[in-house]
Amino acid sequence: MAEAAGGGSSSLAWLRGIARGVSPGVWLPLAFLAAGLGYPLFLLVTNAFNVGDPQALLPVEYGVANFRELFDHLDWIGNTLLVSISATILATVIGIVLAWVLHRTTLPGQRMFEILIAIPYPLGPLVGALAWSALGSPRDGLLNQLYMSLTGSQEPLINIYSVPGIIFVMAIFEAPVAVLMIGAAMQHMDSALEESSTVFGAGKLQTAFRVTLPLMLPAILSAALFLFTSMMGAFAIPTMLGTNARFYVATTAIFVLFQSYPPNYPLAAAIGVVLIVITALAVWLYSRVLKNRTHSIIFGRSYRPRRLNVRGWGPFLLAFECLYVLVSLVLPLGVLALASLQKTGDLSWIPTNWTLSNFHYVLIDFPTTREAIGNSLLLGVGTGTVGIALATAIAWTVHRSQSSGRRLLEQATMLPQAFPRLIFAFGFMWMVMSLPIHLYGTLYAVLLAYIIVFLPLAYRGMSGVVVQIDRSLEEAARVSGANWRRMMRTVTLPLLRAGLLANWVLLFMISVREVSASLFLSGPGTQVLGPAIFSFWDSGGLQRVSALAVVQAVIILIAVVVVRRLAGSKAAE
């Protein structure tokens, strides 16, 4: 953006010169992003200043009354910051430890743990919140029941409906991203940097604090920033675990204002704007801290990092890994599976009391959930296909073309990541409603929103794939007499295939589990899984909502297996 605005010259010749250099590969996606991301944000901001008719799509009167009203509800913002910052710190610490254990120690079973630790993220916060409310609810939670019956205590062991509970569940379900991002940096660090530190007389601890940690700082901070933005927009966990305790964060407040009658759109928009400002501040702070640390460029080459024999610490670290897998995967899936087999909302251990009727109900009998499952699969396929196609085209333009404006395109593509998804979706809903064409209430609206919010992720994945393909491989095909189409068919696509498929499945998974971006856009006729689980949780009873959550988890687990297969076959090549 700075490039476009920075020139400042109004000369027509200059503009024409720029236009000639900018190819359709650059301006088409830019126009798409400007419309799909820029316009919703514009609507959000203008509505935040709307002091006229709160129902009006385009404000007629401007003022700051909404922000003044927000002063009475500063606790919403305070709670959001409290939860997001604490959960970010916790998830980042978990991420650092797990990434280090996975990539830098000689502990056994790291390949298996690498897979298991990654799963909670695609399972998603909705499944996590649902499972942990069944595990840790002070009255009926499975863990509390077990604890009370074992010890005879009248007091529950844990209360998940609390601020620490919300922070804990948020952290464990977002931590896999931190493991992935920090782990990638750890794998790419030249271990000679640490070795030389010990040769020059520094012990293990000194080396960790003076060399390893400072070198990892860019990766750690960028993981933390990603988590923070994502947690600011988190909806499922604070709603399902916080509403009982009347604990509101910004996103839950927006949803309440949206649902209340009459809906207070302007105040909700004002909250959204404040959240965006906070995220922007975080991004600014991040770039400030990393200003003089441009050294991530040296991590270009792949090194085989030296693994540390942790000896006496081994059992503790292994226990930590097992504990993480237990609380983020085994217990949640276990309790959901158990609950989905029950005839009533109470949990029974006796198999003769079990039934499969809940699955029959959500899969076949009840049209809303049946439709939601079908729609979600459709959306997953659609987002995967269109999103990856768009991301591949952008990655190709950015990394392979000489067109001017490539950097701008890259920055614009990564921009949606800087906005909490629920806030964006709120603005997007407005845009859809204000359009003259009939888009609101259709799956296309949800699809479009998904493509925009997941574009940064898809782009990141695909540019990783594109840069790995050496340009000379294609050039060799051309020199050998292949035309462009033949080159694509015989060289480029076969090389891209594994990466394309892996990223497609990734996009499919996160679309299937998404709730924040579809909450405002789905409704009668456009039911999708996330919001359906959410509204079912409000009304349907634990056994049925668990069955629906298990269906979603099974879809995700199958996709995880497929990704692993693809990754495995890629490694075998």
Binding site: D190, A192, L193, E195, S196, S197, T198, V199, F200, G201, A202, G203, Q206, V211, P214, L215, L217, N292, R293, T294, H295, I297, I298, R306
Partner: protein, 386 residues
């Protein structure tokens, strides 16, 4: 070695003309190292005298880097003993394994391992600061070390803003500044371009002469090993193949592998003609008989009973005229002339087959020219066959 002797020894290193100690300063004995089940260093023993520059030379995978890393303490050997400055730093028998950071060595890595989050100054000061040296002294020592490599103006630059050659210089300054017992270098020049490599080679040799620190230098480049070392150890498959001063290894390779690996040599095989003791050894190669350099025992023959002789391309001579009584002189024709710039390589057909001969551009022979090939008998070296 007594404590006093050791101290004298260290003190002598700082004199202008130190007497090279006969005693070994680093002693490696029976070293065996493995990665999981794969043994990469087998029963290797050698020593480095105080102030000596020793090179470990060999192709990739020969175990030279692993040997160096064992000395630094970055790898743990399976067996053996390592003594540095009369302190046992590793011994499998006595169960001693002093951690890397307590060995007081310094090392230059192939990737330089310049910490990108520190300035040049902080990089060089690191070793001194871990030793707890006072700030004022650190300041002086670092600037002196940077001056030594001509990098004093860069002291407060970020380490990422440096070129490869500059990083190399900082890595050298860093390893000299911390006053180590010995310097270990792991292929330090392999990431530089050819011209810069030649210059750094000479600069490093100069530093080595000034400081008289014991140095172990790992390289796969024979030129580097030749130009910089007091002594060279050629390694192959985890074992020592030959050990000696550079010229001795060049002139008297013990095996076909060493002759091939160092310099350009012609490898010729033939039958040894039975001769009485005291007589020169004659090797029959096709239609020629070569008189070989005398040796106490015949080397290991090839499986078919033939013996191998190595003739360096620079030691074979081409002459336009010759005295017919000279031994090892044959009529020959120039088949190919390859102009390489500083030298000219001729492929020569002679009664023994084909031979590569190096000449100089000031005295060119044309292709097809009839010449005389002369190989002085002391330059026909019988070597171990493979």
């Amino acid at each position: 070695m007594s404590r006093v002797a050791v101290e004298n020894n260290i003190a002598s290193r700082h004199l202008q003309t130190p007497a090279k100690a006969e005693r070994s300063f680093i002693e490696v004995s029976g070293l065996t190292a493995a990665y999981q089940a794969k043994v990469v260093v087998r029963d290797v023993s050698f020593s480095v005298a105080a102030g000596e520059h020793l090179s470990l030379l060999g192709p990739s995978g020969c175990g030279k880097s692993t040997t160096l890393r064992c000395i630094a303490g970055l790898e743990t050997p399976v067996e053996g003993e390592i003594v540095i400055d009369s302190e046992v730093v590793f011994s499998s028998r006595r169960r001693v394994n002093i951690p890397t950071e307590k060995r007081r060595l310094s090392m230059v890595f192939q990737s330089y391992a310049i910490w990108p989050h520190m300035t040049v100054f902080e990089n060089v000061a690191y070793g001194l600061r871990t030793q707890g040296v006072r700030d004022a002294e650190v300041q002086n020592e670092v600037l002196r070390a940077l001056q030594m490599v001509g990098m004093e103006e860069f002291a407060h630059r970020s380490a990422t803003a440096l070129s490869g050659g500059q990083q190399q210089r900082v890595a050298l300054a860093r390893s000299y500044a911390c006053r180590p017992k010995a310097i270990l270098l792991d292929e330090p020049l392999s990431n530089l371009d050819a011209r810069l490599r030649t210059r750094m080679r000479e600069e490093m040799r100069e530093l080595q002469r000034q400081f008289q620190l014991s140095t172990i230098y790992v390289t796969h480049d024979q030129e580097e090993a030749m130009a910089m070392s007091d002594r060279v150890i050629v390694m192959r498959d985890g074992r020592i193949e030959q050990e000696g001063p550079p010229l001795e290894i060049y002139d008297h390779p013990r095996s076909r592998f060493v002759a091939d690996f160092i310099g350009a040599a012609n490898i010729v095989s033939g039958r040894v003609r039975q001769q009485g003791t005291g007589q020169p050894i004659i090797l029959d190669v096709e239609h020629a008989a070569i008189e070989c350099a005398p040796c106490a025992d015949l080397p290991r023959p090839h499986a078919d009973g033939s013996y191998t002789v190595a003739i360096r391309a620079v030691y074979a001579e081409l002459r336009r005229h010759t005295d017919p009584t000279t031994p090892n002189c044959w009529p020959a024709t120039i088949e190919r002339r390859i102009l390489l710039g500083d030298i000219v390589t001729y492929v020569v057909r002679w009664p023994g087959g084909k031979l590569r001969v190096h000449g100089f551009p000031n005295n060119l022979f044309d292709e097809g020219a009839a010449v005389h090939l002369h190989v002085p008998s002391i330059r026909a070296i019988l070597v171990d066959a493979d």
